[in-house]
Symmetry: C2
Subunit: 488 residues, 2 copies
C-alpha cells in the first residue's frame, strides 16, 4: 500500500508514521483524534498525541520500542467500549489501536480452542463456530461490538458468567508485547495448570498496564444440548432476592440469573426491545438453565416452585427461541436503555454477597434520595454483581459531580457489606481512589511493585487502576522506611 | 505452656525458640531434623537448620522477620507430601512447619465457603461438611494426609479436576506472610473477579517462593445429586485413547476420566486394594459422571456406546457405592502401589494434548527400553495429565541417575508434542532445568523478576522452580544489556 504524505510539525508523528506500513495507519489531526478522547466512560476526556493502527505484533513492538526509547506515554485500545476509562489518554498518549488486528487465526474443534487477534469482535467468535455446534462463553452486553483483546484487559464478565466463569477462565494463552518491546508467550494451549508463576492470570484483567496482548488462545465450548428460560415478577425485592438464594441453595447452577428493579424495568420498556414487563412490580428475575436435555425440565420445575414459595406474582417459561431471544434483547439493552429515561447516566459496578441485596438496595435508595438522583439497579444476581445506574443530566450545573459522588458512595456500600468495587468493568480512572475501600496500602504496594517490574517507566497506560501517583509514591516511601517489599 | 530448656550453641536457634510460645515448638537436634531432610521427592536430601512450629500468623511473621533481619534462609512446609522437592531445605533453611495451624476456622454454607488454616488436611474438610451435603472438590491422591496449604503452594490437582478445576479454581482468598514479615490478605470472599492484579492466582502455585500462606478461604460445593462410575478394559491403548477423545467430543464432561496401562495395573493389583483387573489388557479406563439424577443414565449409556464402538473387551457399571469406592481405592493406590513391584520409583508429571497419547506412550516405551527401566503410566486422561512411573532400584549403582534422566526425557516428549512439564506436582527442584523445555529466557526472566518483588533477597525457598541461580543470573545480565524488563 502506498503511504500517504504525513504533514506534521511533530517529529515523533513523522517517525511513528514511518514505522507503520500502509496509508491510513496513523491519525494525528485534531479532528480525527476527537473520536479517541474517551471510551465508554464519557465524563473525562483528553486528546491523544496520535493514534496508530499496527497490522501485527511486530508493528506493535516497533511502536512500543520507539515510545520506550523516546519516553513517550502510550496505551492500547480495542473498540473503546470500556466503562471505567481504561483507554482514555490521560497523558496525551500515543494510542495503539488494535482494530486492524482482527483475524480469527485458527479454530481447533478437537482440542476446543481458537486463536484470535485482539481486535476480533467477541460475538463474531460465537458466530464463526455456531454452525459446528460451539460457542465462546464470556458474553458482556457489548459483545456485538467489543473486542476480545479488550475483554482480556478488563477480565470482562457477562450474564452467563455465573455458570461459565469470567474471561480469565476461558483464556489459555496470550502473546504479549511487553513495555520494552519484547514479545513473549504465556500460558499453554489446553493446559489447566502451567508451570511457574501464573502470568496468564496476572496479565488478564491488568487493564492494559502490564503489556499489550497481540494474540489470544481461548477455550471454546460445545453448545448445551438444551436451554430453558424463565421470567418471574415479584411485588417485593426481598422476595425476588430470597428466591435467588433458594435457587442456588437447591444446588441448581443456572447459566444466568439476572434481576432488574422497577426503574431499570421502566428503562428497558421505554427502549428498543420492550417485552411488556408489568410496570408496578419491584423486581423481575430472568433465569436460564442449560445442559443435557434430560435434566432441564426438573430444574425448571424446581425454579418455579421456589418462585411460588416466595410469592411470585407471575412466572413464565419461554415458549420458543424467539421469545427467549426477545427477553435477552430486552435485558441486554439495560444500560443503554437508561438513555430513554434520562439525558445521561453513570453505570456503577459493585459486587456484594447475594444475601445482602435487600439491605444494599435500601442504602442505595437512601443515597438516591440524598443526592436527588434516580438510581436504577441491574443485578447479575447469581454472582452478586450489582450495577447501580445513576441517572443525571450533564447540562445541569454540578449534577455530573453529584452523580460521581453518588456512584462512589454506592461502591462504599458494596465494600461495607463485604463485597468489592468492581465485578467486570475494571477500575480504570473511574474507581482508582475507591481501591482504598478494599485494599490496604501494603496490598496496593504489592500490586504497584509488580507493575514496575513490567512497566518500570510507567509509560504504558499511566494513571490508571491505582490511587493517584503522588499518593502512591507517598505510600511507597512510607513503607520503604518500614522495611517493606519495596525494592532495596 | 511452659517452655522447654533449649540447649544449642547456635544463637539463632536460641533466638528463634524465644520467639515461639510453648514447648515443643522448635526442633534443632540432628536426630529430629532427619525427618525433614526431604519431602515426597526422596532422591535429594539435606538437613534444615531448625524446624519451628508457629501457632498463628503472628508467630509465622515473627520468625520471618527474624530470618529476614539475620539473612537466614527459610521455607514453609505442610505435610511434606510434595513430589517435586519444593520443601527440601537445599540451603540449610529454617523450616516453618505449618502443621500446628490446622484449624477449620469457619464454614459458611449459605455463601458456599470455608476458612481453614494451612495445616488443615485436605480430606478433613470434606469429612467435616459431608453431613450437610457439601464437599471440597480438589482431591489429590494424597488427600488423606496432605494439607490445603501445600495444595495452594503447588496448585494441586486430582482425579476430579477434569470437571471441577484445580486448586486455584477453588481458592477465594488468602492471608499471606510476605518475605519481609508483613501480613496481607488477597482475593475476596465469594467474588469472581477482584479489582487490581490477580495476586491470588499469582500466589497460588508459586511453590512457596513468594510468601507463606496462613489462612485460606476455599469454595465448597454441594454434593452432586447422583454419580455413576464405569470401568472399561481395552486390549489396545489406542482404542482406549480414542474412546477418551470421543467421550469428550460427545459433549460429556465426566467428573473424572482416568487411564492406567498394563504395568500400572500390575502394580495396583499387587497392592492393598486389588479389584481383579484382567492382567493381559493394555488399558483400563475409570470413568465417573455426576450431577442431577435426571441426566446420569443417558450419559452412562452414551459412554458405554463409545467404549463398544472402540472394541472394549469388557465394561462394567459400579453396582453400588461400595463397588465404586473399591475402584477408587484401587486407582488411588496407584503411585504407592509401584512399591509392590519395584524397590523404588520416580513419579513424573507431564501434560499432553489428549490426542497425542498413543504417540507419547510409544516414545515413553522407547525411553524405557533404552534406559532398561520399566515405566508404568497413570493418566488423568480427560485433561491430558500423564504420570509416567519410572521403576528402579536405588541400591543398584547408577540406577537413580538413569531414572532421573529417563524422567527428564519423558518430559521432553511431553513438551515436544505441545504439552508441558508439570500438571499438578510442581517444578520444585526436580524439574527446574526442564523449565527450559517450555519457556524462553525472557519468559523465565519475567517470572524471576516477579519473585524479586516479593522475595528480593531470595531467602524464601531459594533454588526452586527456576533454572539454577548462576544460569539465571547470566540470563538476566545478558538480557539487561539488551534493554529488557530487567529493572534499570
Amino acid at each position: 500500500m502506498k503511504k500517504k504524505k504525513i504533514r506534521s510539525n511533530d517529529a515523533h508523528i513523522l517517525a511513528l508514521a514511518a514505522l507503520m506500513e500502509g496509508s491510513g495507519s496513523i491519525l494525528y489531526e485534531e479532528a480525527d483524534l476527537l473520536a479517541y478522547d474517551c471510551d465508554g466512560f464519557t465524563v473525562h476526556r483528553k486528546l491523544p498525541r496520535a493514534v496508530v493502527f499496527p497490522k501485527d505484533a511486530e508493528e506493535v513492538a516497533k511502536v512500543v520500542r520507539y515510545c520506550a526509547k523516546h519516553n513517550l506515554p502510550f496505551l492500547a485500545r480495542g473498540a473503546g467500549t470500556g466503562l471505567s476509562g481504561g483507554a482514555i489518554p490521560l497523558n496525551n498518549e500515543v494510542i495503539i489501536s488494535l482494530v486492524r488486528m482482527k483475524r480469527l487465526v485458527s479454530v481447533d474443534l478437537e482440542n476446543r480452542q481458537a486463536v484470535v487477534e485482539p481486535g476480533f469482535i467477541n460475538l463474531k467468535l460465537t458466530n464463526s463456530i455456531a454452525d459446528k455446534g460451539y460457542y465462546y462463553a464470556p458474553d458482556p452486553s457489548s459483545q456485538y461490538c467489543c473486542t476480545i483483546g479488550g475483554n482480556v484487559a478488563e477480565n470482562a464478565g457477562g450474564a452467563h458468567c455465573l455458570k461459565y466463569g469470567v474471561t480469565t477462565n476461558h483464556i489459555l494463552a496470550l502473546e504479549v508485547v511487553l513495555p520494552n518491546g519484547e514479545i513473549i508467550t504465556i500460558g499453554g494451549e489446553g493446559i489447566l495448570d502451567t508451570p511457574g508463576y501464573d502470568l496468564l492470570g496476572l496479565l488478564t484483567g491488568s487493564e492494559g498496564t502490564l503489556g499489550i496482548v497481540t494474540k489470544i488462545t481461548v477455550r471454546i465450548l460445545k453448545n448445551p444440548e438444551a436451554k430453558q428460560t424463565v421470567l418471574a415478577y415479584f411485588d417485593h425485592v426481598s422476595d425476588g432476592s430470597q428466591a435467588v438464594s433458594d435457587i442456588i441453595s437447591a444446588g441448581i447452577v443456572p447459566a444466568a440469573l439476572e434481576m432488574m428493579d422497577k426503574i431499570a424495568i421502566e428503562g428497558v420498556e421505554a427502549a428498543a426491545f420492550p417485552v411488556g414487563h408489568p410496570k408496578d412490580i419491584e423486581a423481575v428475575l430472568l433465569i436460564e438453565v442449560d445442559g443435557i436435555s434430560a435434566g432441564i425440565e426438573e430444574q425448571i420445575e424446581e425454579i418455579l416452585a421456589v418462585c411460588r414459595r416466595h410469592h411470585v406474582r407471575e412466572v413464565k417459561v419461554a415458549k420458543d427461541e424467539q421469545e427467549r431471544a426477545s427477553w435477552w434483547a430486552n435485558r441486554k439493552t439495560g444500560f443503554g436503555a437508561m438513555g430513554a429515561i434520562s439525558p445521561d447516566y453513570l453505570v456503577q459496578d459493585g459486587v456484594i454477597p447475594r444475601s445482602k441485596l435487600p439491605e444494599v438496595l435500601e442504602r442505595i435508595n437512601e443515597i438516591s434520595k440524598r443526592y436527588e438522583l434516580r438510581i436504577a439497579n441491574i443485578f447479575h444476581a447469581g454472582d452478586g454483581n450489582l450495577h447501580p445506574l445513576i441517572l443525571f443530566d450533564m447540562a445541569k450545573l454540578g449534577e455530573t459531580d453529584r452523580a460521581l459522588k453518588a456512584g462512589s458512595e454506592c461502591l462504599q456500600v458494596c465494600a461495607d457489606v463485604g463485597g468489592t468495587i468492581t465485578g467486570e468493568h475494571g477500575v480504570g480512572i473511574e474507581k482508582k481512589e475507591e481501591m482504598k475501600f478494599v485494599f490496604t496500602d501494603e496490598e496496593i504496594l504489592a500490586q504497584t511493585n509488580i507493575r514496575e517490574v513490567f512497566n518500570p517507566e510507567n509509560l504504558l497506560n499511566a494513571g490508571k487502576l491505582f490511587p493517584s501517583p503522588s499518593r502512591c509514591a507517598e505510600v511507597k516511601r512510607d513503607l520503604k522506611d518500614k522495611q517493606t517489599v519495596a525494592r532495596p
